[in-house]
Amino acid sequence: MTVDLVIDKNLLLPRLKFHTQNEALTYLADQLYKQGKVKAEYRAAILKREDEYPTGLPSTKPAVAIPHADYNLVNETSLAVGTLEQPISFHNMEDVKSTLDVEIIIMMAISEPHGQVEMLQRIVSLIQNEELRKKILDATTSDQLQQLITPILLTNELKEN
């Protein structure tokens, strides 16, 4: 099975201006839907899921959230990445009563319940790379985001932490 994931530039969205989590999640889910990656119900599932099991990850700045929803609402495994001009408050996955100022949202649309280990590990290696996160946040165009993110998702050598 191929694990290379080529991200559509239409799904790499820098410097978004949103004030609430719902606005940002709705927008990103809609972009995935427009590109045919997910079913119409995915948006509602993302919002519900974030409410029940938040996906803000505690880290140094800039913090990342990884919203995702049920695989049976996904047509094709994909990612939508949005960076935020102003941080948005997300609940902490590990401690749901606390909140984090999230500046990068990586919405994961995963179409298979298993067998996506490598892709997930690559996303995690991106999340663990503070320098890369800063560069992603600084990117102003979809092209720049693609140049930063694609090598991570295509690399053959997984970086272990």
Partner: protein, 94 residues
């Protein structure tokens, strides 16, 4: 054989990464272990069959005496080594 239950919101995404990191680490230490992924809400009904629980979301339920380690460091990388050592120590007490 050490049985490890790894739980996250839907038992698919973050638990996949965490389970894979735990397995890789324990293999390198020569520890025989098997991981099972599940949803956080299904933990209470399954926990009694396992030697260790690791979660990436918040779990506030009872673990019925089963040791519990928070898996978030394995996702963020912050404190990952300490978490893996904690897991290793538990496998050695079993």
């Amino acid at each position: 054989m050490i049985r490890i239950l790894v739980a996250c919101g839907n038992g698919i995404a973050t638990s996949t990464v965490v389970a894979s990191k735990i397995k890789g680490f324990l293999v390198s230490k020569g520890v025989q272990a098997e991981t099972t992924q599940t949803k956080l809400m299904e933990v209470p009904g399954k926990i009694q069959d396992y030697d260790l629980l690791v979660t990436t979301g918040e779990f506030s339920g009872q673990t019925k005496g089963v040791p519990y380690v928070k898996g978030m460091p394995l996702l963020t990388g912050i404190g990952a080594e300490q978490t893996l050592n904690e897991i290793y120590d538990i496998t050695q007490k079993k």
